[in-house]
């Protein structure tokens, strides 16, 4: 499909400049065509954006999978500590920017975005579960807590409070390791 080629050509532009300022003519220029053609192929800007979201989500999950799981973590804390640097890699910054834009639109009630972010979050949830220790007594809840902390870290990073996020990771390690005397 020609659509795929167009999406691949537009994706870098969107990752660099965001969705908010992405209007048809600049997008077309980035893809080497005209706004006329984008409408012709995608029908409307709304469907274009939906296709872009799909495409970028695919790229994001590929980027995650590219960080090979090596082997599952040995504890919940180790699981979290391994993932944090992954989501902080600079090459994912563009994707995270789009992520926040999409979440913002979802919170504003736009169904396309709500569906997209719901799916991506669900995918990420599964991805985290695969990195849990295999012998975790409650994998579902552990995944939920780790994902929650990861999302919180993204928010703190976005607001310039990365140091606070680091403190949280450190304390979680202290608390959740049932190995040594972590009783208060």
């Amino acid at each position: 499909m020609t659509k795929e080629l167009l999406l691949a050509a537009m994706a870098p532009h969107v990752l660099a400049n965001g969705l908010a300022t992405a209007s048809l003519r600049p997008l077309a220029k980035a893809a080497g065509t005209s706004d006329r053609m984008l409408i012709y192929h995608f029908g409307s800007k709304e469907e274009l954006v939906a296709a872009l979201l799909d495409y970028l989500a695919q790229g994001f999950s590929d980027g995650l999978d590219a960080s090979r799981p090596t082997e599952p973590a040995r504890s919940r804390a180790e699981c979290l500590a391994q993932i944090v640097p992954l989501i902080r890699r600079p090459e994912l910054a563009g994707h995270l920017r789009i992520w926040f834009e999409a979440v913002s639109h979802a919170k504003a009630g736009e169904p396309n975005y709500a569906k997209a972010v719901h799916e991506i979050q669900g995918y990420f949830l599964n991805w985290v579960r695969l990195r849990l220790p295999v012998d975790d007594p409650d994998p579902e809840a552990a995944t939920a807590l780790i994902l929650t902390i990861l999302d919180g870290i993204e928010m703190l990073d976005a607001t310039g409070h990365s140091a606070t996020a680091d403190q949280a990771v450190a304390l979680f390690a202290q608390i959740s390791d049932g190995s040594s005397g972590s009783i208060s």
Copy 2:
């Protein structure tokens, strides 16, 4: 200052319709004046938005303070469990929507928004600390972890994964309570 009155008149419109679609003419209509006057008073739309962010942040923190701390929590888990329903109150939905919009702009590199969300997050951090148990052995780290989880819950709620957020809260209660035998 007349500015205050204008901001107060525009705030409900922004909370209901978001910042993204807030252009001068609708804002002016909501405030009972003309776009001409908004520019006259605020100089430019950029300064208008900055003033609105300040004003809304004030309203948000007032909304938080209005949920009286009753008394500090008796454990970290109780602290978290008390705050979660507060940030989920429907009357804060508009503020949360603006919050995500602002974070998205901050992530996109706009300095006004970056400064605003950094300050609000810092304010929220302090607010959480005041609700911690007074005898917490490491208040700073505990606040960091609880704030991280709270931010993660907001993200999960925004993406339609509130149930996952609830699981995280439940597991945190189980893990962090150093009272009974929580050793794995």
